[in-house]
């Protein structure tokens, strides 16, 4: 890997990238669990079902605990 520049940046500069921070770094929990034969939590699987673009027709994220309006 090649350095972009050798300038030693301050913590303020490094911290300014906070907005870009993924907050979680590593493989996706799905691939990690599959690789190591671990189980994903039921809540996670449930939430993943509601991620957009997964082809199940649900495009809006629905928090697990949000109560749906009764018909």
């Amino acid at each position: 890997m090649k350095l972009k520049s050798r300038r030693v940046r301050s913590m303020e500069e490094l911290g300014a990238m906070e907005d870009k921070s993924p907050a979680v770094c590593g493989p996706s929990p799905v691939s990690y669990a599959a690789r190591h034969g671990l189980k994903l939590s039921k809540n996670y699987v449930e939430i993943m079902r509601f991620q957009p673009g997964n082809g199940n027709g649900a495009h809006k994220f629905v928090p697990r605990r949000r109560k749906l309006a009764s018909a």
Partner: protein, 215 residues
């Protein structure tokens, strides 16, 4: 080796203590929960879900290593284990604790493995759901401080390479933090990149100590 690293809390400078997690702390990671009310923003909600499951997975994996006698909870244990068996593979968890009175006991964690050839593999790093949610306290710099701690461990143990996986979301962050031209699905902190990260870590330590002197 420094235990304290800078963070920002509600715009003010503060410090976090980043150290090897005790067994109790690793077990507590499995109890991270999603907030009762999830953020409307789908990206933030996804980060929170990932963080909670990462914490569970890290806790489970660490316990697997512990059963095999290959998990460490302190720098002394790590050094001793390497001295006994130089090619041993070891798992450890680093925990970022707040040094102020906070409702969040663990600001973030990193799950690492010391590989047989004396490299560090960063399996994953995550911040607490409440840190991600930014609801009660706005806490910044946790991720970069954990990364600096890992760099400081590598420096102390003369470890030449830290590596890990990057996803589509995290690649740009690693690219910026490591100050490298490009990051694909993996990153390697070694050679000049390692030296550069160590210099930036040392500068952040100096800045933190200077602020402490002024107080």
């Amino acid at each position: 080796m420094s235990l304290r690293f800078p963070v920002k809390v509600d715009g003010r400078h503060s410090e976090t203590e980043i150290d090897f997690a005790t067994e109790a702390e690793v077990l507590r990671l499995a109890r991270w929960r999603r907030p009762r009310v999830m953020p409307e923003d789908a990206v933030t909600a996804r980060k929170i879900s990932d963080a909670v499951d990462f914490a569970k997975l890290a806790s489970n994996r660490w316990r697997d290593y512990q059963r095999a006698g290959e998990a460490v909870s302190s720098m002394e244990e790590l050094v001793e284990a390497i001295q006994k068996a130089p090619a041993v593979e070891l798992a450890t968890v680093l925990i970022a604790r707040p040094t102020w009175r906070s409702a969040i006991p663990t600001l973030g964690f990193a799950y690492l493995r010391r590989t047989w050839c004396h490299h560090l593999f960063l399996e994953f790093l995550a911040t607490h759901p409440r840190v991600i949610g930014r609801k009660h306290e706005i806490i910044g710099w946790v991720g970069v401080s954990i990364l600096h701690k890992i760099v400081s461990i590598a420096k102390d143990l003369d470890i030449p390479c830290i590596w890990g996986e990057a996803t589509e979301i995290s690649a740009s962050w690693y690219q910026e933090q490591l100050n490298v031209v490009t990051v694909g699905d993996s990153f390697f902190i070694e050679g000049e990149v390692m030296q550069h990260c160590q210099k930036e870590m040392q500068r952040s330590q100096k800045e933190m100590l200077a602020r402490r002197d002024k107080m």
